[in-house]
């Protein structure tokens, strides 16, 4: 029996876990007692981290498309064909793009960036889960001046008040939920904001229901209450400035309900108070403004950057923060640095011995739709793109699709070339947790067949495209990353190999805080008696790490079996009014389209809301027409 210490790959809380193997197979997962975040605990996913690599349908040998089939090939043949295929696309004047992934390590994502900006000389690099995250990051950065909001998960334990904007925290980020619960047990007041009743709302001192699905109104209400003169701003010391005046002016006259006012008072007058915002909690068209408003709320109350008061942004999956920070984005350099950052350009030039591409490229959705040549790293597109399963049809139009993955996903089956890579537990690397801890993941067993670590495969592809890229070990790669990824620069020599990785330093805040007016402008009114929204944005049931884990997939499989064409959740009050019982068909009609699905009666959904499963978006998404929310008319069929 062998054991390695690694980091849980699922929700971004980044708990430490011991992965166990016997006879060359992963057999178990156990929590790390001394891990600063995990503290001897794991959630259901963490306890089964060993399952997906062992039980999943694995890619074990390179595959190349011949006629209508995929046939096995050697690595040499496969790499050759990838080179020829993608070069052919470039030669024809068409675009090539590379998708990194929240399921990939920092090293794999970094090399995806190097492949694009170094070897292929374009700007088409992105990852599918960035789109939901970026506006929230940008909104907060507008105010704080830093690429990531300050705060640690463990701050929650010391907070007296916690404002939670969630999808369903207990399901999406169980360890964070656990820390919130621990705070509540110690007497903290929890305020949950959302359009349905969740597990955490049952622990809350106050649940602020949001109708028509917009948390933005509550956030602006908090700000207005806090700024309306008679609110003591914590022990805050915000120096007045034009931005502050504009902010006050924009909120003057906004009427605020008593419960919102009360919650705002709790937050403002607490010595330590935290804001937790889950990526899917803010609707897409409000994400940036909502995030900026939250950052301003923390700033004007003096909580921004204070120990014990966190502003926590929870990405939905795995290594989302890491992917963003190593530069998997079409519009910036590693670290989010702009294209005119001469210092970074010089470093890139030095390491890569050539000019890096400083072009703004296509984003993920545009790449999937339009790049004739596409490299997909560790991602099953139907699980993460807006179009769902329909998105796969688009791939048929591409001239050359390369997939690097461990699992035989639908995307892999649609590829021209499949390069099998090592899964979690089979490769070394690092991932970055939501609060900035860069931690090791370690290999415990060898990958099956002739699959190889993803970073090695990418390095080989980069070399094949004419940019020599040889690393004797992962340490060599880290040395390059330390120079080229700003956050990695803060990691001391050897720190990654100490048990708890490196907690990247807290960014400075203070005079750089920038306040501005809040936009209370018109949003599309929700027409129709009901508002339809998607449930939590991340569908674990379609993620290969869960769907291939026999213990974890059970709930998801059962639900999909029960409702193969999707469903809609409504409150009993609405179901009764329509005269429908659970399972009966209803038709939802919006200005974007209509769909007929069975109804599930749920006490969690607020009256007036129709909650649709993101996992069935292929089928039901038509009524939302690509928006976060739409007014619908619901009729019994």
């Amino acid at each position: 029996m062998t054991t390695v210490l690694t980091t849980c790959p699922f929700c971004t809380c980044g708990c430490g876990l011991h992965l166990q193997a016997d006879h060359g197979h992963l057999i178990g997962s156990a929590p790390s007692e001394h891990h600063p975040v995990g503290q001897g605990k794991l959630c259901a996913r963490g306890w089964h981290a060993h399952e997906a690599p062992t039980w999943g349908q694995r890619l074990t040998r390179p595959l190349l498309r011949r006629g209508g089939e995929q046939v096995e090939a050697s690595w040499a043949e496969a790499v050759d064909e990838v080179f020829r295929g993608l070069s052919g696309v470039l030669a024809a004047g068409d675009s090539v793009g590379v998708l990194g992934s929240a399921r990939a390590t920092n090293e794999e994502n970094f090399l995806a960036v190097k492949l694009v900006r170094g070897a292929l000389q374009t700007g088409n690099v992105d990852f599918c889960l960035r789109a939901g995250l970026q506006p929230v990051v940008d909104g907060i950065a507008e105010v704080t001046g830093d690429p990531w909001p300050p705060g640690r998960l463990l701050d929650l334990e010391r907070s007296e008040v916690i404002l939670l904007f969630e999808g369903n925290l207990a399901e999406t980020h169980p360890r964070a939920a656990s820390l919130v619960a621990a705070a509540v047990k110690r007497g903290a007041r929890l305020v949950t904001v959302g359009w349905h009743r969740t597990h955490m709302s049952r622990l809350a001192a106050r649940h602020l229901p949001v109708d028509s699905g917009a948390g933005y109104e509550v956030i602006t209400g908090f700000l207005a209450a806090v700024l309306s003169g008679d609110q003591e701003a914590g022990t805050g010391t915000v120096t007045p400035d034009p931005g502050s005046e504009a902010l006050r002016a924009s909120l003057a006259g906004l009427s605020v309900d008593d419960p919102v006012r009360e919650a705002a008072t709790w937050y403002a007058s607490a010595a330590r108070a935290s804001i937790v915002v889950s990526e899917g909690a803010l609707l897409p068209d409000e994400a940036r403004n909502g995030a900026a408003a939250l950052a301003m709320l923390a700033a004007v109350t003096g909580h921004l950057g204070r120990a014990g008061s966190a502003l926590l942004l929870l990405p939905s999956r795995g290594n989302q923060r890491g992917a963003l920070e190593v530069g998997v984005r079409p519009d910036a350099l590693p670290g989010g640095l702009p294209f005119d950052d001469e210092v970074m350009i010089a470093k890139l030039r030095r390491h890569w011995s050539r000019e890096p591409s400083l072009v703004t490229g296509l984003d993920a959705e545009a790449m999937v739709a339009g790049c004739r040549g596409l490299v997909v790293v560790a991602e099953d597109l139907p699980a993460v793109i807006q179009a769902g399963r329909a998105g796969l049809d688009v791939l048929a139009n591409h001239r050359f699709v390369v997939v690097l993955d461990s699992f035989a996903t639908a995307t892999a089956r649609a590829a021209h070339a499949v390069l099998p890579v090592a899964a979690f537990g089979e490769t070394d690397g690092t991932t970055t947790s939501l609060d900035g801890r860069v931690q090791r993941v370690r290999a415990c067993v060898s990958p099956p067949g002739i699959a190889r670590p993803g970073w090695q495969v990418l390095a080989e592809l980069i070399s094949r495209f004419g940019l020599p890229c040889t690393y004797g070990s992962i340490g060599d790669l880290h040395r390059e990353m330390t120079d080229l990824v700003p956050l990695f620069a803060e990691i001391g020599e050897g720190q990654l190999d100490e048990s708890w990785g490196a907690l990247v330093s807290r960014p400075a805040t203070g005079p750089e805080v920038r306040l501005r007016a809040v936009d209370l402008g018109r949003r599309d009114p929700v027409e129709g008696p009901c508002a339809a929204v998607f449930d939590e944005a991340f569908d674990w049931g379609s993620d290969p790490s869960v769907v291939h884990a026999p213990t974890l997939c059970r709930d998801h499989v059962a639900r999909r079996k029960l409702f193969p064409t999707g469903f809609v959740e409504m409150n009993k009050v609405d179901a009764d009014r329509l005269g429908v019982k659970p399972g009966w068909a209803v038709r939802l009609t919006s200005k974007h389209g209509e769909v007929t699905v069975p109804v599930v009666v749920s006490g969690e959904v607020a009256p007036g809301m129709a909650r649709l499963p993101f996992s069935a978006r292929d089928r039901v998404g038509v009524v939302l027409g690509g928006r976060g929310r739409a007014g619908v008319r619901v009729e019994r069929v």
Partner: protein, 357 residues
């Protein structure tokens, strides 16, 4: 001469001594014939039961690894049947794990856990493969002379000194260990050098240490008896289980970390030329644990699953069926629970009739 307060009916003549200076060489001797598993500080500073490579690194200080040693008789993924498909049809065979092992430095609570698990697998329809594996494991415990931070073994009669589940118990007497063979194998183990006979003084010291240890627990933290009565007569209000349910996050940790939990599912894992059917740890706290193929789930609500867990652990009905309560008081669930629904907290709530979160 039998000591006056010999409550365990042991034969003082079976008490032996091991000088501490002989410990390392004795472990080395054990390593010649078996895989020796013992607590040691592993990655992350975590104390873990692991195969010993350096006997000097064996941890004999206070504290118990968070992972119980049950994984060595009941791994989280446990292959039990090999299914091979070749040209001539399917061949099935049992998979046996008969590695000879000594688990050294186990504590009394975990020894009780091992005994409990063995009983579960041996009764009614015996699981012979499990028993063959467990038979090849020898257990050498180290008695606890001070309570661990979270433990409450006295409430479960599982400590601080071992009651069952062990072959040899070592008691730290300062510069030497008193070694008690509890089974035939254990007695044989301590019969020869480097073990030598103990004296009356040693045995008296040992008994003093046991009484002191029990006294240290003081008014213990989990009154299982009262809880057992209420659970068994169904006098726990449904509202109490309901009040607990938002404080459980369904991680399953309590089941996996518990020395006496053994719920499992059976799944076939693909191999070249066939499959390995594996027993895999499962948790009665997961909603799909009782989900039927028709879609019906008799324990749909979390409160019913929590209620189920504590019925299995602490009811008189199970106590009668199994001869032991389903808790050894190791305190691990207190550490590992993502929420606050650990054994002492739930038992206290049942006793008092109120849940404080």
């Amino acid at each position: 001469m039998r000591p006056a307060n010999d409550v365990h009916g042991r034969d003082p003549g079976a008490s032996r001594l091991l000088a501490k200076s002989d410990l390392v060489s004795w472990i080395r001797r054990l390593m010649d014939d078996a895989e020796v598993i013992a607590p040691a500080t592993g990655a992350g500073g975590d104390l873990m039961f692991a195969p010993v490579s350096d006997p000097e690194a064996v941890w004999l200080g206070p504290g118990n690894p968070l992972q119980p040693p049950k994984q060595y008789v009941l791994p989280q993924t446990d292959p039990i049947v090999r299914i091979e498909r070749n040209g001539g049809g399917v061949q099935v065979s049992s998979i046996s794990d008969e590695r000879t092992r000594v688990i050294f430095g186990m504590r009394s609570c975990d020894a009780r856990g091992m005994a409990y698990l063995r009983r579960m697998q041996a009764t009614d329809l015996p699981d012979d493969a499990y028993l063959r594996r467990a038979d090849r494991v020898t257990v050498v415990t180290l008695a606890c002379t001070t309570p661990c931070t979270l433990g409450f073994c006295v409430c479960c009669d599982a400590g601080p000194f071992a009651r069952d589940g062990h072959d040899v118990q070592l008691v730290d007497l300062g510069d030497r260990f008193l070694a008690e063979g509890a089974t035939e194998r254990g007695r044989a183990m301590v019969a020869e050098a480097p073990f030598r006979p103990a004296t009356q003084v040693d045995v008296v010291k040992r008994d003093e240490l046991e009484r002191e240890a029990e006294r240290h627990f003081g008014d213990e933290s989990a009154h299982l008896g009262a809880a057992m009565r209420r659970i068994s007569t169904r006098r726990v209000a449904e509202e109490l289980w309901e009040a607990m349910s938002p404080w459980c996050f369904e991680c399953g940790g309590c089941n996996f970390i518990c020395p006496t939990c053994y719920c499992f599912s059976v799944k076939d894992r693909c191999q070249d030329h066939g499959w390995e059917r594996c027993r895999t740890w499962d948790s009665c706290q997961y909603s799909a644990f009782t989900l039927e193929a028709s879609g019906h789930n008799p324990r749909e609500r979390r409160k019913d699953r929590i209620k189920r867990r504590f019925f299995h652990k602490v009811s008189a009905q199970y106590y009668q069926r199994d001869g032991a309560v389903g808790c050894v008081g190791c305190g691990r669930c207190v550490q590992t629970c993502l929420g606050t629904t650990d054994m002492p907290a739930v038992v206290a709530a049942i006793r008092k009739g109120v849940w404080h979160g």
